[in-house]
């Protein structure tokens, strides 16, 4: 059966066909839809959102050791979080096959860095696959599980945004019936105390040698010999991009099994062509390996280190110019920066905190990353998931060293990010007697990645009702004495909470609780937030004095007409959060039913 699938959908289909029984992940662009699509095979696969990537990999390790084929998926930076279990599981090896999908982001479309996770395969000494399109993304997962089980190792399955979010036609097959292997206690294999590790360490090197033989002989790595003047070495989507530009004018060494690399095959290919171009995104991994073999090639001296290696980038690097295109005046095009939705519960908090002086606002990863931007200009720094609360703690400790310090450090993250790794950060504040201010923007869902359930939302990924973790109770249990929960759309309440927290000389937590405007409301939400998003605001034009105060809340529903010097509100998109109504100095904004 042929289907048009994205790379992510194809990986999910591949997991189904390969007989996977257990899957876990934490959402992150561009990987999120892998687990969402695996979850649809509810009869055959247990699929779970984990609170973070480390936990996901650990749960998958448990499932593998218990005997089932298991898969974890995450964005590139998620692998940093999960690196600890991964590196030791690389020593112990598996029982049921285990694959970790790393979705990298050359071009940083929606990420905080552009790290090249191919390095993880070398670093952890584990095999790596790099499919080039949807069909391969599905098919090679079968090979990945076979390699995992045959060579007793976790496998890194490395994909990139262009594969994850591009569609191609895929031939789909039936699910393979893979028995759950028997679990046998084996401490020499699974307990990495030094006495055992020494033996496991030897096994890892022996395994690499065997895998290199596999790499040289697997049909996944192959030569396509056309013209002998130019040879192209590429893996993953780069192979497709290169083929678009070079076509039949070049020969190719197409690599899909890329750790360890097929050194013998690379030498063979080099002997067949006159000049070699290495097309790879980010780090010069293939290029350096060729050069270590004494094979001359052209790589990063011609092609960029950063961004995607799309056909136009290759063409520009090779020939100095793009295809002919239309010349026109681009200056007319104005930017379209992302902004908070009308009714976004983050707006009220950023509006208030952004007005305060002597604040260092430590941000985090989520929609609230936009809090640095106009009109709020609120956030000072953002590093990684969960960092906000711990950074604020360290910063406040240093500010406090100054005599008569007035500077206050605030850390801010969302509900899902708090569960991910903010809880340990808050524990750091409590334990070390900090007095930074921690804010949890609880919008009742994982928003940025497209509304995934989390431990606070009451439902599992596969739709079962579950415990709702009470954030305020967790905060108190960690030892925070000063906790306030407020409605972020109530600007007065937000302001009062900030005043209260800024005046304390011990740790405090403010929880803003209001659902994401895009969330599909649960029954519990409907009861708690009755009438939410059911109204709209309107500007009484005669009363409007054109002061633009309402514009300063940064709502896409509000339009300021420069000619008439009046504001107006789009009745179709406004959901009546009333933030603009509260800032209007002349009460020109009124609320009415939708």
């Amino acid at each position: 059966m042929k289907k048009l699938l994205t790379g992510n959908e194809a990986i999910a289909r591949g997991a189904y066909e390969a007989g996977v029984r257990f899957a876990s992940a934490y959402p992150g662009t561009p990987s999120t839809e892998i687990l969402e699509n695996i979850a649809l095979y509810k009869e055959d696969i247990i699929a779970e959102w984990a609170p973070n990537e480390k936990v996901a990999v650990e749960a998958v390790i448990g499932a593998s050791v218990a005997g089932a084929r298991s898969i974890a998926s995450m964005k590139h930076v998620g692998v940093n979080v999960a690196a600890d279990p991964l590196f030791t599981f690389a020593y112990t090896g598996v029982n049921g096959g285990m694959v970790l999908v790393s979705a990298d982001e050359p071009g940083t479309h929606s990420s905080q860095n552009e790290q090249d996770n191919r390095n993880y395969a070398r670093f952890a000494k584990i095999p790596m696959f790099e499919p080039s399109d949807s069909q391969e993304a599905k098919d090679m997962l079968q090979d990945a599980f076979e390699v995992s089980e045959k060579y007793d190792t976790p496998v890194l399955y490395r994909v990139t945004t262009r594969l994850c979010h591009s569609k191609g036609i895929v031939d789909c097959y039936d699910r393979k019936d893979v028995e759950i292997k028997e679990y046998v206690k084996n401490v020499a294999k699974y307990i990495p105390v030094p006495a055992h590790v020494k033996a496991l360490r030897v096994k890892v090197e022996e395994r690499l040698a065997k895998l290199e033989e596999y790499s040289n002989t697997t049909p996944l790595n192959y030569m396509e010999i056309n013209d002998s003047k130019i040879g192209v070495v590429a893996s993953g989507t780069c192979y497709r991009f290169a083929k678009e530009v070079f076509g039949k004018d070049a020969s190719y060494l197409k690599l899909a099994f890329t750790n360890p690399l097929p050194l013998k095959l690379m030498k063979e290919f080099a002997a067949k062509v006159e000049k070699i171009y290495v097309i790879e995104e980010n780090d010069p991994i293939l290029e350096n390996e060729l050069k270590l073999l004494g094979i001359g090639c052209i790589g990063k001296e011609m092609f960029p280190y950063m961004g995607e290696m799309t056909p136009d980038v290759i063409r520009k690097s090779l020939y100095g110019k793009y295809l002919d295109s239309i010349a026109y005046d681009k200056s007319k095009v104005v930017p379209r920066p992302p902004s908070y939705c009308a009714g976004c519960p983050h707006r009220g908090f950023f509006y208030e905190v952004g007005k305060r002086k002597d604040v260092m606002l430590n941000g985090d990863i989520g929609c609230y990353s936009l809090g640095f931007a106009p009109p709020y200009n609120a956030t000072d720094i953002g590093i990684c998931m969960g960092a906000s609360l711990s950074m604020a703690h360290g910063a406040q400790k240093v500010f406090n060293l100054k005599k008569d310090n007035k500077k206050r450090a605030v850390g801010l993250l969302g509900d899902s990010t708090f569960f991910h790794s903010g809880m340990t950060s808050l524990l750091d504040v409590v334990y070390n007697k900090g007095n930074s201010i921690s804010v949890i923007l609880d919008n009742r869902i994982t928003g940025m990645t497209g509304h995934q359930e989390n431990p606070g939302s009451g439902y599992t990924l596969q739709g079962d009702k579950t415990e709702i973790t009470d954030i305020e109770a967790v905060v108190r249990a960690l030892g925070i004495k000063n906790v306030k929960t407020v409605n972020p759309n109530d600007l007065k309440a937000v302001n009062e909470a900030l005043d209260w927290a800024f005046d304390l000389d011990e740790a405090s937590v403010i929880i803003t609780r209001w659902p994401c405007v895009l969330k599909k409301l649960s029954q519990a939400d409907k009861e708690e937030f009755s009438g939410v998003f059911q109204s709209k605001c309107k500007v009484i034009s005669d009363k409007c004095i054109g002061c633009r105060k309402c514009v300063s809340v940064g709502c896409p529903s509000i339009f300021f007409n420069k000619e008439t010097k009046k504001s107006s509100i789009d009745p179709n998109t406004c959901v009546g959060c009333e933030v603009c109504k509260q800032v209007c100095p002349v009460d020109a904004i009124v609320k009415e039913a939708k």
């Binding site: 042929k2 048009l4 662009t29 561009p30 479309h109 929606s110 399109d133 945004t161 262009r162 979010h165 591009s166 569609k167 191609g168 036609i169 497709r240 991009f241 083929k243 678009e244 995607e308 799309t310 056909p311 136009d312 063409r315 793009y322 295809l323 002919d324 295109s325 239309i326 010349a327 026109y328 005046d329 681009k330 007319k332 095009v333 104005v334 930017p335 379209r336 920066p337 992302p338 902004s339 908070y340 939705c341 929609c367 936009l370 009109p375 940025m448 497209g450 895009l518 633009r548 514009v551 940064g554 896409p556 509000i558 339009f559 300021f560 007409n561 420069k562």
Partner: protein, 190 residues
């Protein structure tokens, strides 16, 4: 010969459904098809684009600068933002509809003037009031399908059974409105 279609617009305008129907139709017609979209922050009102490529065997899912046979823009300014992707002899189909971005809404800058004129002076451009047509036929949300209709006409893909594609892929209660929109879009592309 691989053909390249680029659909651009603003998050929420329905480019994704239009490109889904387009790619499904192309697949059922026997073409190899690849499509690329960049998700991420787009639902927060940013600009979005879908690249669709079809032919005997498609390599890259991404259209390169100067590589698109047709640019279909769901919004006026977005056509100009992506015009560099069009081949010099390529076609533009643009919805006569403006969505002001945040800096325009706040009154800091004006929506740029004269874009349609620039487009017409630079490329073979057809301006379609797809939003108006969709409203006329009773469902403003079918604007994306009006543009799909115009697109399949412009690319001479009318032999494909688009009504069946719509029936198979759209919720039953929206099927008739979408078929109407498709026909209206084709008719507008004369």
């Amino acid at each position: 010969m691989t053909k390249s279609i680029m659909l651009v617009g603003v998050g929420g305008q329905g480019t994704i459904l239009a490109s889904k129907l387009l790619t499904t139709g192309l697949m059922e017609a026997g073409y190899d098809v690849k499509m690329s979209e960049i998700h991420g922050m787009s639902q927060r009102g940013g600009d979005v684009s879908s690249h669709v490529r079809y032919g005997e065997e498609v390599q890259s899912p991404v259209i390169e600068i100067g590589g698109a046979d047709i640019l279909v823009s769901f919004e006026i300014m977005e056509a100009l933002r992506s015009l560099q992707y069009l081949k010099p002899n390529g076609k533009v189909v643009v919805n006569d509809f403006k969505i002001p971005s945040a800096p325009i809404l706040s009154g800091k800058i004006d929506y740029p003037e004269g874009i349609l004129e620039t487009l017409k002076a630079s490329a073979h451009t057809t301006v379609i009031n797809a939003s108006g047509i969709a409203e006329q036929i009773g469902n403003p949300k079918t604007m994306n399908i009006v543009l799909l209709g115009a697109l399949v006409k412009a690319m001479k893909l009318t032999d494909i059974d688009w009504e069946k594609i719509i029936r198979d892929n759209v919720k039953p209660k929206f099927v008739e409105a979408n078929i109407k929109a498709l026909k209206a879009g084709m008719a507008a592309m004369n």
